[in-house]
Amino acid sequence: MALCAKKRPPEEERRARANDREYNEKFQYASNCIKTSKYNILTFLPVNLFEQFQEVANTYFLFLLILQLIPQISSLSWFTTIVPLVLVLTITAVKDATDDYFRHKSDNQVNNRQSQVLINGILQQEQWMNVCVGDIIKLENNQFVAADLLLLSSSEPHGLCYIETAELDGETNMKVRQAIPVTSELGDISKLAKFDGEVICEPPNNKLDKFSGTLYWKENKFPLSNQNMLLRGCVLRNTEWCFGLVIFAGPDTKLMQNSGRTKFKRTSIDRLMNTLVLWIFGFLVCMGVILAIGNAIWEHEVGTRFQVYLPWDEAVDSAFFSGFLSFWSYIIILNTVVPISLYVSVEVIRLGHSYFINWDKKMFCMKKRTPAEARTTTLNEELGQVEYIFSDKTGTLTQNIMVFNKCSIYGRSYGDVFDVLGHKAELGEKPEPVDFSFNPLADKKFLFWDPSLLEAVKIGDPHTHEFFRLLSLCHTVMSEEKNEGELYYKAQSPDEGALVTAARNFGFVFRSRTPKTITVHEMGTAITYQLLAILDFNNIRKRMSVIVRNPEGKIRLYCKGADTILLDRLHHSTQELLNTTMDHLNEYAGEGLRTLVLAYRDLDEEYYEEWAERRLQASLAQDSREDRLASVYEEVENNMMLLGATAIEDKLQQGVPETIALLTLANIKIWVLTGDKQETAVNIGYSCKMLTDDMTEVFIVTGHTVLEVREELRKAREKMMDSSRSVGNGFTYQETLSSSKLTSVLEAVAGEYALVINGHSLAHALEADMELEFLETACACKAVICCRVTPLQKAQVVELVKKYKKAVTLAIGDGANDVSMIKTAHIGVGISGQEGIQAVLASDYSFSQFKFLQRLLLVHGRWSYLRMCKFLCYFFYKNFAFTMVHFWFGFFCGFSAQTVYDQYFITLYNIVYTSLPVLAMGVFDQDVPEQRSMEYPKLYEPGQLNLLFNKREFFICIAQGIYTSVLMFFIPYGVFAEATRDDGTQLADYQSFAVTVATSLVIVVSVQIGLDTGYWTAINHFFIWGSLAVYFAILFAMHSNGLFDMFPNQFRFVGNAQNTLAQPTVWLTIVLTTVVCIMPVVAFRFLRLNLKPDLSDTVRYTQLVRKKQKAQHRCMRRVGRTGSRRSGYAFSHQEGFGELIMSGKNMRLSSLALSSFTTRSSSSWIESLRRKKSDSASSPSGSADKPLKG
């Protein structure tokens, strides 16, 4: 492990020669060993202590400790500081050590993975960490890529290779990488062993999508691009094997370069606490100065004369110097206003809250068996203050699963579920799914609920048959048949996969394809269609078509596409059918389904020939080839006959609309940032109820230039202004914006708006001069959707809101493309249980369902915030009450830094007597039951507004503390000054006074915590009563004869407890003090409850009087939405695959065939295989296509 980290000068370029370790070693490139751990056994103690003492608080306490070791200053025993300090350091060290241990373990696990390395012409198993730059390694299917590789060759034709980059960028669809032609022929080991090309390329960097380099081989230069690279973290898919040359290893890989050290996140309470602690230090110094001046004056006036009885220390020569010393002494005494236990307790409470999150059964996903996990324990209370949520779409809001849900065939709609009586059944009470057992090739996972569709297929309805035939023919899906009848579809978009799978289950099984044919099992019979053309999809056309010739020789064009596009291109004879289908489409769209319209057209031979010729011409054209092709396509896709429509459900994660509605009610603004297309994003926006038709307007910003974007934003703002002006707000709109008045004139707009902005517009909107305009517009909207955004833009948007809004932001996502945003936001949430875990690793919290967010925020976050605030208030209160007594006593003891209490009491007060009750409150307190915080989302608002703990609240606590300390000192003083004990002896001795004040202090703060605790569990009872009991037990023990006998000088208070606490006067004093300290608090709370109740009080009250209000059930039923029909052709589709199919480049060879052909030379075996495949496919009785049982 030690060889992992070596500092090297920055590289200017990288040179790596294949199979030449000696040569590569000259450059001392990083090995493939990675190290994320911080310590080893030897360095742990010094490094960890060094780090810990970088914390201001720890250094402060160390400083205090040193002060206490100076005898002239020491006013408290050293153990009052060292015990807590050592405790804190130990706890932190143990935590750091365990963290680092797990990092070591994960490093080891990764470093020891096996990979096959070509060494001396032989493939050898090597550990990942022993892989060097310049090695050639062999990867097999489904293996992780070990380092950044240059792809040399693969099992696939043309050196193609498929990878999944989910770990890197979060995109789940497969990507193609291709070796450069010269190396793609290096298929076997002997050739590879002789390969001695040298790569010269850019130095290591973190750009995932860029690579530039040159391969020098056999005196030729070959340019290299990202298209030739396999990056560490990718997974090889659908590729038997491939060989790669290691270019970057270990820490130099793009993956590692991207995983920068996570910034340490602090909560706003943390920052506030630090400010307050600084203020308290200031306050402490002031107190010290006052008392020091007092001491100087006293020593000058009184002390000099009192020297008969108490001469000055030898070192002290003047009253001034004595005052100086007493300043430090008082700093030591009064330091308990910021006790070190504050920091420990805060950590303990947060840890407790984190465990509650981990333990929460209601955040456990049964399906994925994943519990929620609080990965950082320092941010919990910030969860109660979130104002902005930035959410990813795919995988977060949606499951990225497309389901064939409904269809309309020739004017009849299928897919609605009817119960026995013929009523439309609600979702959730589904009857048995349709039985597809007649079809041995059916996909078991496909579920459909309407049996009538299958009946229609079985009775041979020609329209239905044609419908499914279209679905089985018109697509770019690739099939793979590992075993007979076990079909796997590799769809480029999940929508298309869903459609082809649907056709498959209804008896139209797409079996295989070659560049020129498609074989479909139609109701058991294999039929091979001749594939004449694929009119591929693109963003403008929003449709795709295939032209096929069926075995009878008839040519037909099948087309599927977006309704808006396709409906104009239908034959006029279909008008009536069109109307019915439109109704169905509206209905589907209203349910949030993605719709496609299907149509066909018969072509006669001559027309096709002539058209094909024109198409050929167009495709050969040098200039504007795209446009020409488009117009040729458009020509043939006309006068089509309508077949019907499909409706695909982009499955939302469970409970997403409800969660979003609830969070919106809690005044949390939700922005969706997605890499997806605008249509998809808007569609999802509607289906998860972020966008509704009730909204006044949805602004869509798609401008390509700065001016356009600015104009669009301006228009949006004007519209919002106009409507609010008409409502009567009557403020004037100002064109000029300045950052100072960003407190937004727009905040008060009437009506609900939404903003949809495109990636390229966003790039302009995020520029320095427009970001404010953008932010202001966006913040005035109820919902914001940013589509087509890059990972970096996601982070920029979050950063923008963070910068100007001073609001707590939360980012939630599932993929590696969300990592930047997760790291940027105050709180990052990762969706776990997915394939990629990059997001989870970067996140602060993880769980597997978006819907858990409501519980995390509204229940856990709210409680955490509440508890933390109550805890802090109480903590400052109790320490001020405790410490300030010394200040008052100073005026009576000649400012000599004499403490009021016994030093053991000072040591134990914070760590024993008062720690557990407040911890119990901080961990367990609840103001309202969890159901209520879901029912009344407004209960979340105090956190957003920072109401429960801010500077004002802090001053109130301090004031209360000081008030208590005044009474705590002066009431016993008043009583003791004159009184005597009931046996006539002196009452006002120092020790009795100390015990009386200490006892009343413990009782008062215990009563106070009792009042602050809103939720008395058995644990609270135990801790509060226990603390009191422990106080008295320790008091009597410390004052016992036994201890005194052993250490007479240490335990001076012998006999004090029983003598003092036997006095009725003492108890009367304690009772009086308690009453006077507590009653005003009770009165204050009562009056606030009556005069200014907040919502949680009200909720509690309603609870109490049991007037069970009906929960404000938000209507969550799927309400049909009409009007805005959104059709989308296979939304996540990319163009270009049609071409790939037609060229045959990506044709997979079945593994069976592969084995018998590997020995042949590459150029010929591909051809022959292709021939063989098409031969067998075109003959229905071919060996691979046995007739299916009906």
Binding site: P371, A988, P1048, T1098
Partner: protein
């Protein structure tokens, strides 16, 4: 890291009340009835307590006579340290118009004497005072040893500054006959002090035990000659010493000097009449601008005469009651508004 073991994606969390935050609990509510009840009860309790305390405090009798300036010549004499061996006595007559019933206690009271200074309080050796090791003087700075390194017994600033006036109370039965009022010098201390905290090395011969030590600089006599009349009241067990060593919390304090021995004329306490204090004036207070007085006092069930506690209770009780009424009024006034609030 890019990969993590998947093994922890298991286990459903326990369904325990603790882990699900569903511990059975009592929720605290500040309901009107409860708060008002508490306020009324407290108010009434405090008021009653206050009245009782004030009444009983008024039953006690106390006489305080400041003799700092009454014995002006002695005070002057004591201002110069070199006159320490010159005896100075003075007599302070006073008239007791009402008899002091029951137990009567005599105190000396010092004004402006700081027994609560940090270095003063620490300047003692409990190990020495408990008789374990008479030469243990470790904490006693600045009075650890004498100039020739002999350990001081009892060491420390506290012991050194011990109050050493002698106060004798005389009763004038008539103008010619004056008898000494019998005072007990026992029972002035806590039991734990006398029997645990302070112990003589052995009871045989104190002077032997303290050989090799020296007396504190301010003391006229060594520790074993503190009470020449009662040999048992010597050494560390001298009650005046024990009383003095229990340092006072505030610069003005009184310490018990003697208890009335209720015999003969004084069975029912001190009868009315004329008395005088005969004081041997040893303790200098004018040097630090302090004062000293002598106090005679009787007690009640709760100790000495202190109006403060009674007054404080009365005021608190009255305030609590007033507050209770005010809150009741506010609550009534707001009731309608509040109801509408809760029914939103």
């Amino acid at each position: 890291m890019e990969e993590m073991p998947q093994h922890r994606l298991s286990r459903l969390p326990d369904n325990s009340a603790l882990k699900q935050q569903k511990l059975p609990a009592h929720r605290l509510h500040f309901t009107t009835t409860r708060v008002l009840f508490v306020f009324f009860t407290t108010g009434i309790f405090c008021l009653c307590m206050g009245i009782i305390l004030m009444l009983s405090a008024r039953r006690t009798q106390e006489i305080e006579i400041n003799y700092t300036r009454t014995c002006a010549n002695c005070a002057k004499l004591r201002e110069t340290a070199s006159n320490f061996d010159k005896e100075c006595t003075c007599s302070i007559p006073f008239y007791l118009s009402e008899k002091m019933k029951g137990k009567v206690y005599m105190y000396y009271k010092l004004h402006g004497f700081h027994q609560n200074l940090y270095r003063y309080i620490r300047s003692r050796s409990n190990r020495q005072l408990v008789g374990k090791d008479v030469k243990a003087v470790e904490n006693c700075y600045p009075f650890k040893t004498s100039n020739n390194d002999t350990p001081i017994v009892p060491c420390g600033a506290i012991a050194n500054s011990m109050f050493n006036d002698t106060i004798i109370l005389s009763y004038n039965i008539n103008s010619s006959v004056q008898i000494k009022v019998p005072m007990l010098k026992t029972g002035l201390t806590w039991w734990t002090d006398k029997y645990i905290k302070f112990q003589n090395p052995s009871l045989k011969n104190l002077a032997d035990e303290f050989r090799g030590t020296t007396k504190p600089p301010n003391w006229p006599n060594p520790i074993y000659e503190l009470d020449k009349k009662d040999p048992r009241n010597n050494g560390f067990l001298n009650e005046d010493l024990i009383v003095w060593m229990r340092t006072a919390a505030f610069p003005t304090f009184k310490k018990l000097y003697g208890r009335l021995n209720q015999t003969h004329h004084f069975i029912e306490g001190l009868p009315a009449g004329s008395y005088s204090f005969n004081i041997t004036y040893n303790f200098p207070v004018t040097r630090f601008q302090g004062e000293k007085s002598v106090v005679l006092s009787t007690l009640t069930w709760c100790g000495g005469n202190s109006l403060f506690l009674g007054l404080a209770y009365t005021v608190t009780g009255a305030t609590a009651l007033l507050a209770a009424f005010a809150m009741k009024a506010i609550h009534m006034m707001l009731k309608n508004k509040q109801m509408s609030f809760f029914h939103q």
